[in-house]
C-alpha cells in the first residue's frame, strides 16, 4: 500500500494510506485524547474528544475517523482544541447524573480521568438532572443509564467482537439510550451470551458487574485486545 507523508504537530510522519490520523499519531508517539475509540473495533466519531485541526479547513475533524492524506498538516493541541475538549466534557457531565464519589468506576473511569487531565474543575452549564434508572435484571451484569455517555463502545463490541448483537441504541438526541434487543429488560434477552465484553469495554461506570460497590470496577481491556489480535492475525484456527 502506498505510504502518505504528513506532519502532526510539526513532526514528519509517514503512514500507510487508509490509516486514520489517530492511528498515525499513536504510532508516532503523539497522544490524542479519545473516549468512544476502542482499539480493535470500528470508529464512529461519536464523542468528539479527539478533534484536531487540519490545515486547509476551518472545521475541526475527529482524528479517529479522518484518514491521512499526502501533505496533510495536523495540529493536536491548541487553545481552540483545548477549549472544545473541555466544553465537550462539561456537556457530557451536565447531560446525565455523574456522582463519582459513589460510582463503581470511581478511580478507573475514562471520563473522569479525561476531566482531570483537561483541567475541568467545574461545569459551566446547568446540569440536566434527567431521570434515568438502572437495569439490574441480568443475573450478573448491570447497567446504570445515569452514567452512560452514549459512546456505543458496548454496542460495537457486542456486535463486532462477540457477534451477539444484543446491545443497540434507541431514541434520539439526549434521550437516546442503550437497550438490549428490542428494548427488553436485559435479563430477558435471548441473544445476550453473558460474555461481559460490554462491561469490559465501557469507559464509565454505566456498565458493571453486579455486586460491585464504589470504585470497584476495574476493567481489563487487554482481554478485548487479545481477542481482536487473535482474530485478525488468524491465531485461532476454527
Amino acid at each position: 500500500m502506498a505510504a502518505k507523508t504528513l506532519t502532526i504537530d510539526g513532526k514528519q510522519i509517514s503512514a500507510e494510506a487508509g490509516t486514520t490520523v489517530l492511528q498515525a499519531a499513536r504510532e508516532a508517539g503523539i497522544r490524542i485524547p479519545t473516549l468512544c475509540h476502542l482499539e480493535g473495533i470500528m470508529d464512529i466519531g461519536a464523542c468528539r474528544l479527539c478533534l484536531v485541526e487540519v490545515k486547509g479547513t476551518t472545521k475541526l475533524l475527529s482524528a479517529c475517523t479522518t484518514k491521512v492524506f499526502e501533505g496533510m498538516e495536523v495540529t493536536t493541541t491548541s487553545e481552540r482544541l483545548q477549549k472544545y475538549r473541555r466544553m465537550t466534557l462539561e456537556l457530557l457531565f451536565a447531560e446525565r447524573n455523574h456522582v463519582c464519589a459513589v460510582c463503581v468506576a470511581n478511580g478507573h473511569c475514562e471520563l473522569q480521568s479525561l476531566a482531570y487531565e483537561q483541567g475541568m474543575d467545574h461545569v459551566r452549564y446547568d446540569y440536566c438532572f434527567p431521570k434515568w434508572g438502572m437495569d439490574l435484571t441480568h443475573p450478573s451484569l448491570g447497567m446504570d443509564h445515569n452514567r452512560c455517555i452514549l459512546c456505543t463502545r458496548c454496542v460495537r463490541v457486542c456486535w463486532y467482537i462477540e457477534g451477539a448483537g444484543t446491545k443497540n441504541v434507541a431514541g434520539r438526541g439526549g434521550r437516546s439510550m442503550v437497550i438490549s434487543d428490542m428494548n427488553e429488560p436485559w435479563g430477558d434477552s435471548e441473544t445476550c451470551t453473558s460474555c461481559g465484553k460490554c462491561v469490559m469495554s465501557c469507559p464509565t461506570g454505566a456498565l458493571f458487574s453486579k455486586g460491585s460497590t464504589a470504585g470497584e470496577s476495574e476493567r481489563d481491556r487487554s482481554k478485548l485486545e487479545f481477542i481482536v489480535n487473535a482474530r485478525e492475525k488468524k491465531q485461532w484456527t476454527v
Binding site: A101, V102, V104, G133, M134, L136, T137, P139, G142, G187, K210, G211, S212, T213, A214, G215, E216
Partner: protein
C-alpha cells in the same frame, strides 16, 4: 394547656442546633424540643439504586459516623443475599467497628465535652474548647487527640481511607488486615490503654464534685436499648436487641433486629419532619428509650473483658438498677473505649484476620434485609426492601440521634426548668443546655464545632404557640 408550634425547616439556621422550650400558663417549662435533622430525603434518593451500592453511598449520609453506616449497610446486604459471611470477614468488620467506637468516643470526650467539665461550665467560650484544654492540660489534650488517631488508624489500615471506606460489601469485606497494619495497632495499644486509664481516673474525680450535674443533666427514668450477645454480653456488631427499664429489669430480650418493627414504633408528628422512635408496646409516652453507651452498659449483663468489667461494676453503683443520668454517658463512653481496646487486643491474636476467604457471593435470596450495628451513638438500623433484581424499592434508616431525640427533649426541658427565671435566657443556661445535648453526642454537624461553643437557636414558646423569645447564639 400548652400548644406546639409547627417547625418549618426554613426557620432552621444553618449550623445551629434548634431548640424550642414550651411554657405553660404559669410560665413554667412544660416541655422542650431539640430539633434533629432527619434523613428522609436520603432514603428517597436511594430508591431505584442497587442494594450492593449502598455501602458506598450511605457512608455519605453523615461525615461523622460513615463507618457505622458502611457496616450496617453491608449487613443489610448480607441479609438480602441470605448468606453467612466468612468468619474472617465478620471479625474484620468488628475490628473496624471497635476502631470507630474508640475514635468517636475519644472525640466526644476529649475534644467536645471535657472542656466543659474540666475548664468550668462558665469559662469563656473562647477558651472552653480543645485549644483551651491544650493550654490548661496539654498532656491530656494531646493524649486524647492521639487516642482518636489510634481509632482512625485502625479504620485506615483496614479500609484504606479515613473517611469513606467502601470496604465492607454485601457478603463480606474487600481486604484483610496486613501484617504491618496489625503490628502498627499492636504497638500503639499500650499508649491507648494508658490514656484511657488517665481519663477514667479524671472523670471519676469529676463525678465526685458534680453531684448536681449528675442530678440535672437528663436524669429521669426511661427504657434503654442495645444489642447484646446470646448470653447477654455487651455487643457492638451482631447479636440481638434487648430492652431494659430504669429498674434494670429486662423487658424484651433477644429480639432479632429484622423484627425491630415489633418493638420500635416510629411516630411522625404533624407538621414536623422528624421521626421519634419509641418502644412500641408501651406507647409514645412511656416507651421513651435511650440508646448509645449509657444504654449499652445498662442492657448488657457484662462487658466480657476483665478491665472493662471491673469498671462496669463501679459504673453500676451510680444507679438503682439502671444508671439513669445522661451525664454518665461520658463515663460509659470511657468504659466502652476500654472494652474496645481489650477486644482489639484479643482480635489481633486471631490468625483469621489475615485470611483470604473474605467475601461470600450470592444473588438475591430475600427481598428484605435489615442490618443493625452499634454505632458509637447507638443502634443503627438499615432496612432495605428490594425487587427480584436487587433494585431498592424502599429504604428505612433508624439512626441513634433520632432514637435519643425524645430523651434529649426531656434533658433540655429538665435543664431549662432549673435555670429559666421568667423569660430570661441566660448564658449559663445556654451553656448547660449545650452540655445536656453533648451528653448524647448527637451526630449533627452543628454539635461538633470542636473549636468554640455550639451555635444555638433557642425559642421560648408561650402557651398560645407564640414565640415569646428568640435567642440566637452563634
Amino acid at each position: 394547656m400548652s400548644k406546639r408550634i409547627i417547625i418549618d425547616p426554613v426557620t432552621r439556621i444553618e449550623g445551629h442546633a434548634k431548640i424550642s422550650v414550651f411554657l405553660d400558663d404559669a410560665g413554667n417549662v412544660s416541655d422542650a424540643e431539640f430539633h434533629v435533622v432527619e434523613f428522609r430525603g436520603f432514603e428517597k434518593f436511594c430508591e431505584g439504586r442497587s442494594f450492593s451500592e449502598m455501602p458506598g453511598i450511605t457512608p455519605r449520609i453523615c461525615g461523622i459516623c460513615p463507618v457505622s453506616h458502611l457496616l450496617a449497610s453491608a449487613k443489610a446486604g448480607d441479609a438480602i443475599m441470605a448468606v453467612n459471611i466468612p468468619p474472617a470477614a465478620d471479625k474484620l468488620r468488628r475490628l473496624m467497628n471497635l476502631g470507630q467506637i474508640v475514635q468517636s468516643h475519644a472525640l466526644s470526650f476529649f475534644h467536645l465535652s471535657a472542656p466543659d467539665f474540666l475548664l468550668g461550665w462558665d469559662a469563656p467560650a473562647e477558651t472552653r474548647n480543645v485549644f483551651g484544654l491544650i493550654a490548661s492540660n496539654e498532656g491530656l489534650a494531646r493524649a486524647g487527640i492521639r487516642l482518636r488517631q489510634f481509632g482512625q488508624e485502625i479504620i485506615e489500615v483496614l479500609g484504606g481511607k479515613k473517611i469513606h471506606p467502601a470496604w465492607a460489601v454485601p457478603g463480606g469485606v474487600r481486604s484483610a488486615l496486613s501484617a504491618e497494619g496489625a503490628a502498627k495497632i499492636r504497638a500503639w495499644l499500650p499508649e491507648a490503654h494508658q490514656t484511657t486509664q488517665v481519663a477514667l481516673g479524671l472523670f471519676k474525680k469529676v463525678l465526685e464534685t458534680h453531684e448536681r450535674e449528675t442530678q440535672l443533666y437528663g436524669n429521669f427514668p426511661s427504657l434503654f436499648m442495645g444489642l447484646v450477645a446470646p448470653d447477654g454480653t455487651w455487643e457492638h456488631h451482631g447479636g440481638r436487641l434487648r430492652f431494659t427499664d430504669s429498674s434494670g429489669s429486662t423487658i424484651a430480650d433477644q429480639i432479632e433486629p429484622r423484627d425491630y418493627k415489633t418493638v420500635i414504633g416510629e411516630s411522625s408528628e404533624d407538621g414536623s419532619y422528624l421521626k421519634s422512635p419509641y418502644y412500641l408496646p408501651l406507647g409514645r409516652e412511656d416507651g421513651i428509650y435511650r440508646v448509645g453507651p449509657l444504654a449499652r452498659l445498662n442492657v448488657c449483663s457484662r462487658m466480657g473483658v476483665p478491665k472493662a468489667d471491673e469498671e462496669l461494676r463501679n459504673f453500676r453503683s451510680f444507679g438503682h438498677g439502671s444508671v439513669t443520668s445522661s451525664f454518665l454517658y461520658h463515663y460509659a463512653r470511657l468504659i466502652e473505649i476500654l472494652a474496645s481496646l481489650e477486644y482489639i487486643e484479643r482480635a489481633l491474636a486471631d490468625p483469621d484476620l489475615s485470611s483470604q476467604d473474605l467475601r461470600a457471593d450470592a444473588g438475591i435470596n430475600s427481598l428484605r434485609g435489615v442490618g443493625a450495628s452499634e454505632a458509637p451513638r447507638g443502634t443503627l438500623f438499615h432496612d432495605y426492601t428490594v425487587d427480584r433484581d436487587g433494585k431498592l424499592l424502599k429504604v428505612n434508616l433508624i439512626v441513634a440521634t433520632g432514637q435519643n431525640n425524645l430523651a434529649m427533649n426531656r434533658t433540655v426541658a429538665q435543664i431549662a426548668r432549673h435555670f429559666l427565671k421568667g423569660t430570661e435566657v441566660t448564658e449559663p443556661m445556654l451553656n448547660r443546655i449545650e452540655h445536656g445535648i453533648r451528653c448524647y453526642d448527637p451526630c449533627l454537624s452543628c454539635s461538633t464545632h470542636a473549636a468554640g461553643k455550639m451555635a444555638l437557636h433557642l425559642q421560648l414558646v408561650g402557651p398560645d404557640g407564640s414565640v415569646v423569645k428568640d435567642v440566637v447564639r452563634d
